[in-house]
């Protein structure tokens, strides 16, 4: 499986302090009450790792979307 770009939105506003926990994801503010984690994840295991982490922090998951796989050549 190729790497893919994932966008995970969670309820609440995470400040930049959380960046250390989500190395591979960029934390962006989507709206007042929604935070977007965006980044390249290697595979399904990496995705589950991030989701698991959100669960452990009791963050409320709103959506997970994946974009086009990254072309290794490009």
């Amino acid at each position: 499986m190729h790497e893919q770009i994932y966008e995970i939105s969670v309820q609440g506003s995470l400040d930049e302090a959380w960046q250390v926990w989500f190395d591979e994801m960029e934390i962006a503010r989507e709206s007042d009450d929604i935070t977007l984690l965006r980044g390249v994840l290697q595979d399904q295991s990496a995705l589950h790792g991030v989701l698991n982490h959100l669960l452990n922090l009791n963050l409320k998951l709103i959506s997970v979307t994946s974009c086009c796989p990254i072309d290794p050549a490009g």
């Binding site: 609440g12 506003s13 995470l14 400040d15 302090a17 959380w18 250390v20 926990w21 007042d32 009450d33 669960l55 452990n56 922090l57 009791n58 963050l59």
Partner: protein
């Protein structure tokens, strides 16, 4: 290598943490009681599973503890964490927990957990469940933090436990996400009660009770509602809010600010709480945030003397103030951070002082190492990415940990180390090979063993490992390579490696010498040198015993029994097994699964002497203790001996089932698989299924592999039987003569007597009674001194008829005649019947089929009997009716109106 440093600190040291795993948290004095949820749980008497499932910080643990604290004597508790993902570790803790309410639980399983190769988990669970069947009162088994478990073997063990547990047992699980059990089915059957996030949320009344009664905040209702709303009843959020509010004069302003912020609640609140703490507390929290468990001395070591107060005082203070920590034992020695707070604290640490994270992990690793706790020491070293340290810990601990039922833990260590580090270190590669062998990954073990060997042989590294270290390594590695090669049927390689192992073993290490001799013995056996095999194994046994590898010693004793039987000795090897058995009792090894190998040896020998009850007794003990010993030789030996016993009892389906059970387990070991197929072919003949026997013979004659060894020899005698059944006595005789030469020249009298016996039957079939009697006389003469009996009885009626002619034998020795008389007495079914009685129902059935012109084989198939049993029935019929042949019997029966 197995046993080198057994019973070292690790097992004892893990007891240090045992109490913290089994400790049921006691409710805080002023905690909020949750009667609506407790009622729900109390009413769930018929539920098998109580599932408390919800995200972190929802009060799952507190709820489960509050519910169970009302019934302290009937509940046991196990707190799980990620390091429990090893079936051996998990089951060990589960048994320890069960024993707190039912002292006898899992007593028989504990020794199995300490054996190097863990038996199948489902078998262990079944044994535990057997023990629980006798529990007289209702008990609840509580598993907390079940989400920590990721090992599928543990999930299936718990699912099996849940499915089969006796009605007086309930399972309660607290977890962040649903376990992979058939929950929908349990739900549909009404056999599960669930408490999920929705019900775990604090209602406004509960929030008020908590904020005002427990925390003494005296908030008006609207403020309580605001907080409950903002936190959505999340217990952790409410608790943090309460902590932030304590001692504030501007409570209303704070609540308004909190309600207005969109920040992640915990993030916001913890910052609030921390900002009001003195610096020394903040430093302590950050510096110890990486620890799974906390105790005073550990905290002090990790903080490296920078604490103002003692570690345990600090922890006690935090607990008193309800800040972040949870007590893990009665004495308040061990604590842990609430998981959520630990995560947030760690996040702060990584932001504020990222440069000290590795140092903190390294110090934690040092402390755990000094306490002899290998697993947490390794985990912290790995988290510090201090690979030299991590590798050193693995090198020092893989033997005691890996060979006491926790191979999965060592495998996790080895997989965590950087690949190139393992692949460039011969000792770690050796460890990897052994561990893979223990978890039955033969291919992987071979690959690693070859790599380790190449590293040791690499001239560029010469001198890197000074003797004795280098010698220990190459000797241990060579015996492993020998083992692996023999399983693959590469016997010459196996022998060479065994010789190397003995040569390299330092004189003062009996274990290594013993492993080498044991490997050599097994290899020589495969090469047909039975005498050399037995000699080597006899040399190995005391060395292995001295080196505390009782498992290998007892497995070697079984092989001695097997090979001595081929050499014509039954009594002496029986004594060997018996004397070792007596030693296991003296040395407290009675429950060791390897003892099964001794019972198996005794079963095999007593069975040959036709002592069926005794054989049965030893086989049952072997089954209980050593069925899972894992070594394919023992698996096949067990199956073959059981099949032979069943056959002797006239139970052909039972014999077939005995072989069928192990067929799937010998896939990776071609030689053992061939041995098993030869036994199976013999049963095909007993079934009268000549086609299957013939197609096996076709396969066996062309299978690849060494041409020597007792597997080949065994196959040759079975092929001879197939040829005889096909009506090709000439071909059968030719095969037997060839086999006889090898057996006689190599001193296998036990094999030779079987070949002479078979030759006698073949000659008789070929119409040469004189030759038949001569062969039989030799067989009897060889058999008499040690009492070989079953080999003869298995031949049934044809042998009896031949023995009846013994008056014509002129060359028989006195002891041959004596043995013949003895056998004839056993073979004559009416030996104990003084006057011919009426025919039994079964005999009448057989008689009717005889009258219908059916052959014995057809009758056997029709009545689901063995050929031998049918022959016994017909000879009974003949003697009861006084008939000399089938036609005469039918005629007499018609005369008497029986037909």
């Amino acid at each position: 290598m197995p046993g080198t440093e057994q019973t070292q600190n690790e097992f004892g040291a893990s007891r240090v943490l045992l109490e913290t795993k089994l400790y049921m948290p006691s409710p805080r004095p002023n905690a909020v009681s949750r009667p609506r949820l407790i009622d729900l749980l109390d009413r769930a008497r018929n539920a098998r599973l109580i599932l408390i499932s919800g995200p972190a910080g929802f009060g799952k643990t507190s709820l489960m503890a509050e519910w169970l604290s009302a019934k302290p004597n009937t509940a046991c508790w196990l707190s799980l964490d990620a390091t429990d993902n090893d079936p051996g570790v998990f089951l060990g803790y589960l048994i320890a927990a069960l024993q707190t309410v039912h002292p006898g639980a899992g007593r028989g399983v504990s020794p199995l957990l300490r054996s190097s190769q863990l038996p199948p988990v489902e078998d262990l669970v079944s044994l535990i469940l057997n023990d629980l069947a006798s529990v007289a009162r209702d008990i609840v088994v509580a598993l907390d933090d079940y989400h920590s478990i990721t090992d599928p073997a543990i999930h299936s063990a718990v699912a099996l436990f849940l499915e089969r547990m006796p009605p007086q047992v309930q399972l309660a699980i607290a977890t962040r996400f649903d376990p992979p059990f058939p929950l929908a089915r349990l739900r549909a059957q009404g056999r599960m009660v669930e408490v999920r996030a929705g019900s775990l949320r604090f209602t406004p009344e509960e929030a008020s009770s908590f904020l005002n009664d427990s925390m003494g905040l005296a908030l008006p209702d609207d403020e309580v509602l605001t907080l409950a709303g903002r936190t959505e009843g999340w217990a952790a959020g409410l608790q943090m809010a309460a902590l932030s509010l304590q001692g504030r004069s501007d409570k209303a302003a704070f609540i308004a600010e909190f309600a207005g912020t969109n920040r992640f609640i915990l993030d916001f609140l913890i910052e609030e709480v921390l900002s009001h703490e003195p610096e020394e507390v903040r430093d302590f929290l950050l510096q110890t945030s990486l620890l799974e468990r906390l105790c005073g001395p550990l905290c002090e070591h990790v903080a490296d003397g920078e604490l103002g107060v003692s570690g345990s005082e600090m922890l006690e203070g935090l607990e008193r103030r309800n800040l972040f920590v949870v007590g893990l034992d009665e004495e308040r020695k061990w604590y842990r951070y609430h998981h959520l707070f630990a995560e947030v604290l760690q996040s702060q640490l990584r932001r504020v002082q990222p440069e000290i994270v590795e140092t903190l992990h390294r110090r934690a690793s040092e402390w755990y190492e000094s306490q002899g706790l290998a697993d947490p020491a390794f985990n912290h070293a790995a988290a510090a990415a201090d690979w030299p340290r991590a590798a050193r810990l693995v090198a020092a601990n893989w033997m005691p940990v890996g060979h006491t039922g926790r191979a999965a833990t060592v495998l996790r260590w080895l997989q965590a180390l950087p690949e190139d580090l393992v692949r460039s270190d011969p000792w770690l590669s050796t460890a990897f090979a052994w561990i893979l062998w223990l978890v039955a990954d033969i291919e992987g073990a071979r690959e690693r063993a070859d790599e380790a060997r190449a590293l040791l042989d690499d001239p560029a590294r010469a001198g890197m490992f000074a003797p004795p270290q280098g010698a220990v390594m190459s000797s241990g590695l060579a015996s492993l390579r020998s083992l692996l090669a023999r399983q693959m049927g590469e016997v010459e390689t196996a022998l060479a490696a065994a010789e190397e192992s003995i040569r390299e073993a330092p004189e003062d290490m009996p274990l290594l010498k013993g492993l080498g001799f044991s490997a050599m013995g097994h290899s020589l056996g495969e090469l047909g040198d039975t005498e050399g095999c037995v000699d080597s194994l006899r040399t190995a046994i005391p060395l292995l015993w001295q080196g505390a590898n009782h498992f290998a010693a007892m497995a070697a004793a079984f092989s001695v029994a097997k090979n001595e039987r081929l050499r014509g000795h039954l009594r002496e090897p029986f004594e060997l097994c018996r004397s070792l058995l007596a030693r296991t009792d003296d040395e407290g090894l009675a429950g060791d699964p390897a003892v099964g190998a001794l019972h198996l040896g005794m079963a095999l020998l007593s069975l040959e002497q036709d002592r069926l009850e005794e054989a049965k007794h030893h086989l049952e003990l072997a089954e209980q203790l050593g069925r899972h010993a894992g070594l394919v030789d023992i698996l096949v030996g067990y199956a073959a001996t059981l099949a032979r016993l069943k056959l002797a009892e006239g139970d052909l389906p039972g014999a077939l089932a005995a072989l069928g059970k192990v067929e799937s387990k010998v896939g990776g070991a071609p030689l053992a698989a061939a041995e098993l197929r030869a036994f199976r072919a013999r049963l095909s003949l007993a079934e009268g299924d000549l086609d299957q026997a013939r197609s096996w013979a076709q396969w066996a004659e062309h299978r690849p592999g060494d041409d020597r060894g007792h597997t080949r020899e065994h196959e040759a005698t079975v092929i001879a039987r197939v040829r005889l059944a096909e009506g090709k006595p000439g071909e059968a005789l030719r095969l037997l003569r060839k086999g006889l030469e090898a057996a006689e020249s190599q001193g296998r009298k036990g094999r030779a007597l079987e070949v002479h016996l078979l030759s006698a039957l073949v000659s008789m079939d070929g119409g040469d009674p004189a030759a038949a009697l001569a062969e039989l006389g030799i067989a009897l003469d060889l058999a008499e001194p040690e009492g070989y009996t079953l080999t003869f009885l298995e031949e049934g009626e044809p042998l009896r008829l031949l023995l009846e002619r013994r008056a014509a034998a002129t060359t028989w020795s006195e002891r041959a005649n004596r043995h013949a008389a003895h056998l004839l007495a056993s073979l004559s079914p009416d030996a104990d019947i003084t006057s011919p009685g009426p025919l039994s129902d079964r005999e009448l059935e057989v008689l009717r089929l005889i009258a219908a012109g059916r052959s014995n084989k057809e009758i056997a198939a029709a009545l689901w009997l063995t050929l031998n049993t049918v022959k016994k029935h017909s000879s009974n019929i003949f003697s009861k009716l006084g008939a000399g042949s089938r036609t005469e019997a039918v005629a007499i029966a018609r005369e008497q109106g029986l037909l």
